[in-house]
Amino acid sequence: MKKQKIVVVGNGMVGHKFIDTLLASSNADQYQIVTIAEEPRLAYDRVQLSAYFSGSTAEDLMLTSETYYQEKGVSYKLNEKVVELKPEENCVVTASGHKETYDQLVLATGSYPFVPPVPGREQPHCLVYRTIEDLEAITASAKQSKVGVVVGGGLLGLEAANALKNLGLETHVVEFAPRLMAVQLDEGGGQVLRSKIEKLGVKVHTEKNTQEIVAGEKCRYRMIFADGNYLETDMILFSAGIRPRDELARKFGLGVGERGGIVINNYCQTTVPNIYAIGECALWSNRIFGLVAPGYQMARVAVSHITGGTEQFLGADMSTKLKLLGVEVASIGDAQARTPGALSYVYQDGINEIYKRLVLSPDGKKLIGAVLVGDSSAYGNLLQICLNHMEVPESPEQLIVPASDGQAATGLGVDALPETATICSCHDVSKGAICCAVRDGATTIGAIKSSTKAGTGCGGCVALATQVMNSELTKLGVDICTDVCEHFSYTRQELYHLVRVGNIRTFEELIEKHGRGLGCDICKPLVASILASCWNELIMKNELAHLQDTNDYFMANMQKSGTYSIVPRVAGGEITPDKLIALGMVGKKYRLYTKITGGQRIDLFGAQLEDLPAIWQELIDAGFETGHAYGKAVRTVKSCVGSTWCRYGVLDSVGMAIAIEERYKGLRAPHKLKFAVSGCTRECAEAQSKDVGVIATENGWSLYVCGNGGMKPRHADLFATGLDDQTLLKYIDRFLMFYVRTADRLQRTSVWMDNLEGGLKYLKSVIIDDKLGVGAELEKEMQMVIDAYQCEWKSTISDPEKLKRFRTFVNSNKRDNTVVFVEEREQIRPANEEEIVRFVEANELETA
């Protein structure tokens, strides 16, 4: 059979989508595809165009490649513009005179940026924002400019403004309408957006109608407005809307709309049945769709129609969610409440500049529109409620008012959505399709993405798709994937057993026997922690070093500027005056910020990498050891002063705290471990908020376990009472080792307990009654860890090879110039952004 020849004019996002979809269809081999492209390259991701300014190359943006087209037998012509269309001869002609006949023709010519007919607009440095070549021109022009103006305060205009700002220009936005994003936002939303954007340093001028562009005095140009005011600028970017590229249709007799656009029916056919139009050039029901998702939908419909299917295009939702200049903005449905009788709820937070509006149907039951500025987290949920005509909850304001403490946000859960609800609008994936994929074995969001394509466009639907997936998994009775990551199909507990039982000592051995790939920042530190819990070898050993988080690798806690803090161990919070002096001396000598911590010790902040060894040398000389403040490890044992000094104290809490801290120091665990010992029931050491709490009573020690401060505080449970010193330590040994054995990655004891089947009762039976018969084993394992303890810092500074790691640069002795401090309350603190800029400028002056 002779192949049908399909010619696609324009290889933009939608034209390419059409080709890709046709290639994927079951009878792809019946078609010969030819595409003619005016641009010098095949389709690229125009939606992500602005990424070009943050360093992406044309290569990164490509949606396809010439090799791919060649492999698939798609012929293509680049740099060729179609200039003639002869429907009666079924052929098109290009500017270079090349003639191409077709059986079916697809026009996917997109649109062009509209430039208002202002005199002076054709001068150099007056540009638009649509193609990679445009961006190259903008970059070149920006190099010779200080001030830039964007004409148009819509979606694209603001994106362009961001680009100019990032190119270092003083940036202005000039808008004809009284507010920004007039199409998508209402008055209130526009105002909040404006104020946020102005705070970012972009100047906004609304209700300005540009009349003329003339030579400027201070800048290259002067823009004169209808109201007599003017604005000077070196370059101008027009972003005042788009116009469909319908020239071919218009000139060669196809139906076009009054205000432009190639008329199509529900099958995307133009007025000539074997000519289709899709994407931004097409006019459906008198509407142009200037977003990529509707274009993709049209591409699918056209393919379906050509291959004998029945899909129809019935309009598309134009809701949008974006980040403009870092400000979250979303608009859904009838955002401006144009529907007669529509009701509104408005939530406004003047301090954080958040604006949210719900537009409800006149009966108050259905959501018909919404505006979100400053916080668009409710977008997915609201969009679903709107698109699926779901009834809003009884008090609809809950949908936009921030959840108060402890209360979960009251969305309608994903379970309330119908199967047909569109979850991913970029690729038109329904809830049903995701559930289906889950049933077919896709159990991770990665698998969902590759099998359904959901989430692979703008990415806005990933959270929602994940919820749908998890809900479906739960329904199927499948445990939600508990693999630690893509490299190991095991839980942490399983890996722990594999390490123990197989006597495995290195990551390489474990991944070779039980995993795949190279590992990542999830499984490497996890395995490092397990190896440390089991064998307690020095973490900076060469085989183990590359597994450690930077904190463990440099044995210090990294701060936001890349500097480190130093927290020596002060067991039980007891410290001699001499040691205090030593700490003071070190802090002074190395200019460190010094603070008493919430864990009864002293933190020295702001150390640079290359200074760490010298600082530690001095601390070790003064009798200090590392405090493991950087590790998922035993941290502190807080104590109260106890019976030694306190008139109420019944036992020596300080002594016991020091004994406990000395015993367990260096133990690495799934998460950090904190202890406290109080000398009586007044509980000055807050032991009931710790992983392990000990309180003295007349009858001996009471042991509490699984308390937590932090993000979600939990009171510790009373575990045993009337204990002597020895039994207390025995129980703690067993408790800690059992936790190390069975907890999940980064699970504090509190959460572990809350998830432990059988709870406190079960735990008591394992630890106190030794129901599993593992008591002795757990104690033995703990003893091994205790015996293997060495101060990591001491071992490190006595090894010159290891000290090399602390060089800032391998090839220079300079210090890191990105680290800048200023003084506050007589100590250093990291400079904020503004201060850094000032500092750099001052330095440049000095060296100039």
Binding site: G55, G446, L518, F809, V810, T818, V819
Partner: protein, 102 residues
């Protein structure tokens, strides 16, 4: 630009180099050298040489130690936000020395 001795770049452990004011992170993974900008665009701190390297979805990556975004070692593109990237530099090993083209 000559940077350092081959033995200075250990497998899976990044080092940092300073070349005309640019901070460059150099890694050795599966025997191959990679070089990308060391300044983490999300925090502004020069920390990428101090991240954990590995592979994620078939790409060789380093994870920023500050907020944990992943960067492709070959291209510098951020996996979580592909519009963000750090520079990548050609790097080679000649006669026991590591050299980066800047």
């Amino acid at each position: 630009m000559d940077i350092c001795d081959s033995s200075d770049v250990l497998p899976n452990l990044g080092v940092r180099a300073l070349v005309n004011d640019e901070q460059i992170a150099i890694y050795r993974v599966q025997g191959q050298l990679y070089a990308i900008g060391s300044i983490d665009p999300f925090s502004g701190a020069a920390v990428l040489s101090r991240g954990i390297v590995g592979d994620v979805k078939g790409q060789l990556v380093v994870a920023s130690p500050i907020y944990k975004q992943h960067f492709n070692l070959a291209t510098g593109v951020c996996l979580e936000e592909p519009s963000v990237r750090v520079k990548s530099y050609p790097v080679r090993e000649i006669a026991g020395r590591v050299q980066v083209l800047v």
